[in-house]
Amino acid sequence: MSGNGKDFEPRIVGFLCNWCTYAAADTAGVSRMAQPPNVDVIRVMCTGRVDPVFILKAFAEGADGVIVSGCHPPNDCHYQEGNFKTFRRMPLLEALLQQYGIEKERFHWGWISGAEAPQWAQLVREFTEQVRELGPLDWKRQVESKE
């Protein structure tokens, strides 16, 4: 699947909150906005539900990049403050990933509201290219070879 050159197709997992970014991704699709097919979306009710373990799991399973995206702080969150929980957890995870040797460019977390479908499509385009530049991560094999 993965060539080493620029022609490789990165695998990206997106954890999207049901109310904002998932809605935006849905709208982007329904509106037929051009975006590469590299992002696989996992819907959660709130980004506050995203256990950092999920992200590590995705990398461990073979993801080359991960996106976590929810509702804009301060007031967009459907659950009042779930996005703030994400806001606190993700920087910690970011530090941890780098210690594991995963470039911080492989992990994106942010906010896209339900009305921002074009922004979602743009994020998918840009992030896919960003990860493509970095090449395959292949974390699973790295971890297994060290054991």
Partner: protein, 598 residues
């Protein structure tokens, strides 16, 4: 009860009333200039003289000061009365020959020319003292009084000099029967700021207001102003509205109050605000009083407005040419991208009003005509038949010419040329936008907003009334620009949605809630502080956390945070999400794409 006769008709009045009061109540007309219901009678103008023929003190008496007595016989139109009034009016007309009210009264009594020399043609004051009593009794500013004696007698402030005691309320000018008092406001800038604002301190917010009751502007009301100025010493100034209100509905002690209610549903109907056209300088809004917004034009053409419904320029003349510019701030990348929906139709209506009331030439600068509703297209055709000039193209610029005329420039896309027209008045059909405090209101109810700033509905087509917060509904322009029929329909839908919810008496909640596995819970209490709904409590007896399923909305924040893995988020369990992640990588991308294509 006192019984007596007026013009040989038996009438009744209360003890202490005057002949004039009883006569007015009985519908007998007695002319008067110095009497006013709100003021103490003064007997200055002598026009209300009547003849007492029996009982009391016979002879000519001023009816405004004569208390009624049992058995009085009063004549209001006897030859002696008419002659007395004629003499008084003759004297008045000679003193103030150019006052219309006096001329009219004099004419009624057969006097067309002043019978005596008129040395003072510009004099308007008849020394009736209404202004003095108004300032003294109502306003309680005690600024005005009579000065000098005899032919020198006149009304004015102390020493006839400008005084700081005057509060500038203008009540004297309003009460003056001959228009002798002109208020010159030194701080007129304050008033110019809102030239089309309310005309008095008590008004009905809008003619369609529900309930249709007037409100008092405490900043403008004489009673409140005097109370504030005197720090409570003059607490009973004016009160004219209270005295005159027969229903006794005026209560000056009412205060704003915060009422707390427990409710089962909320309808957010916070409406819109007008966009400020001064933000786009090319329309020159604010540079000429004859450049008005659509809403200001409504005030101008309103029969209850300051011009009584006449469409007039700042100089009081009728306009000969009027331009209406559509889409000011709407469909404009420099302001609002959306269409405000209401402007096309109200602009056409205003063009019709201008045509109808002034006969002026009307130029409508429009981009597209959005006559979308029932009967709207027909109205558009009618306006065209009435001779309104339709210029297809955005009005690009309004220039105020040195002579006060307004030059409107724009492109006529149908002619393919730039056109310009000089007009007397420009009406800007300004955009409507979400109110300035929409963000706070949204935060209060947990409402999202669409990029245009209006509150977001649950689904643009299928759930246009509901929001993502259970039990909160949207009505009218809170959700987006709407005209009246659309707003009524939307509000009706919101009301029935709310009623359906209340009528059911119970709510259905999502089964996707979190649940604590009591065997795994280590009683760390991490989850309790995380829950935004305070759905998690700690059971001291069992030493475990407990989730109230009725309060839990299923966001899963506690699930992600539980260090013991004791909380399960139903429908989004850790196992389910992990399985999804694993499933994604079971097959390589290329294969999956092929599978889909096959």
């Amino acid at each position: 009860m006192v019984t007596f006769t007026i013009d040989r008709q038996e009438v009744q009045g209360e003890e202490g009333q005057t002949i004039l009061e009883v006569a007015q109540a009985a519908g007998v007309e007695i002319p008067t200039l110095c009497y006013h219901k709100l003021l103490s009678p003064y007997g200055a103008c002598r026009l209300c003289v009547v003849e007492v023929v029996a009982g009391g003190r016979p002879g000519l008496q001023t009816s405004c000061t004569y208390p009624i007595e049992e058995g009085l016989e009063v004549l209001t139109r006897s030859p002696a009365v008419v002659e007395a009034r004629r003499v008084v009016l003759g004297l008045m007309l000679s003193r103030t020959p150019n006052v219309e009210a006096i001329q009219d009264l004099a004419r009624e009594y057969g006097i067309t020319e002043p019978p005596f020399p008129t040395d003072t043609p510009e004099e308007r004051c008849i020394l009736c003292g209404q202004c003095v009593r108004t300032c003294d009794e109502l306003v309680q500013a005690h600024v005005l009084n009579f000065s000098e004696r005899g032919i020198e007698r006149r009304v004015g402030p102390p020493f006839l000099e400008k005084t700081r005691l005057c509060i500038g309320c203008g009540a004297c000018a309003i009460m003056c029967p001959t228009g002798a008092i002109e208020t010159v406001l030194e701080q007129d800038a304050v008033y110019r700021e809102k030239p089309l604002g309310p005309t008095s301190a008590i008004w009905v917010p809008s003619l369609q207001a529900v309930p249709r009751v007037p409100v008092i502007d405490t900043d403008a009301c004489i009673r409140f102003r005097q109370n504030d100025r005197s720090e409570g010493e003059i607490a009973d100034a004016c009160g004219a509205c209270q005295t005159l209100c027969e229903a006794g509905a005026v209560d000056f002690t009412q205060q704003d109050e915060i009422i707390e209610l427990d409710v089962g549903a909320i309808i957010v109907a916070t409406g819109f605000e007008m966009w400020d056209p001064a933000k786009l300088s090319q329309y020159s809004y604010g540079k000429s009083p004859n450049i008005v917004t659509g809403l200001e034009f409504e005030r101008l053409s309103n029969a209850g407005g300051i011009t009584g419904g006449d469409i007039l320029l700042d100089n009081g003349k009728k306009p000969e040419r009027v331009a209406v510019i559509h889409c000011v701030g709407s469909r404009d990348h420099n302001a609002h991208e959306y269409c405000s929906r209401i402007c096309c139709m109200y602009s056409l209506k205003q063009a019709h009003l201008v045509k109808d009331k002034t006969g002026a030439d009307v130029y409508e600068f429009y981009m597209d005509m959005r006559a979308f509703g029932k009967g709207y297209e027909e109205f558009y055709e009618r306006i065209q038949e009435e001779g309104v000039m339709m210029v297809r193209g955005r009005g690009a610029e309004v220039e105020v010419l040195p002579d006060g005329k307004l030059r409107v420039k724009g492109e006529d896309a149908n002619l393919g040329r730039v056109v310009q027209v000089d007009v007397d008045m420009v009406v800007l059909s300004t955009a409507i936008e979400a109110p300035h405090d929409v963000e706070q209101v949204g935060a209060m109810f947990g409402l999202g907003r669409s990029p245009d700033g209006w509150f977001a509905e649950s689904h643009p087509k299928l759930r246009p009334v509901e929001t993502n917060t259970d039990g909160v509904f949207l009505a009218g322009c809170a959700q987006g620009p709407k005209d009246v029929p659309d707003t009524v329909a939307h509000a009706g839908a919101a009301a029935s949605m709310a009623l359906a919810l209340l009528d059911k008496g119970e709510v259905t909640i999502s089964p996707a809630t979190a649940v604590v596995n009591e065997e795994l819970c280590s009683a760390c209490k991490t989850c309790i502080s995380l829950c935004p709904y305070t759905a998690i409590s700690f059971l001291e007896d069992k030493n475990v956390a407990n989730i109230n399923e009725a309060l839990c909305k299923g966001c899963g924040t506690c699930v992600a945070a539980c260090p013991a893995g004791a909380i399960t988020g139903r429908h989004f369990t850790t196992e389910q999400i992990m399985a999804q992640i694993e499933g994604l990588f079971r097959l390589p991308v290329e294969t999956r794409v092929e599978e889909v294509e096959a």
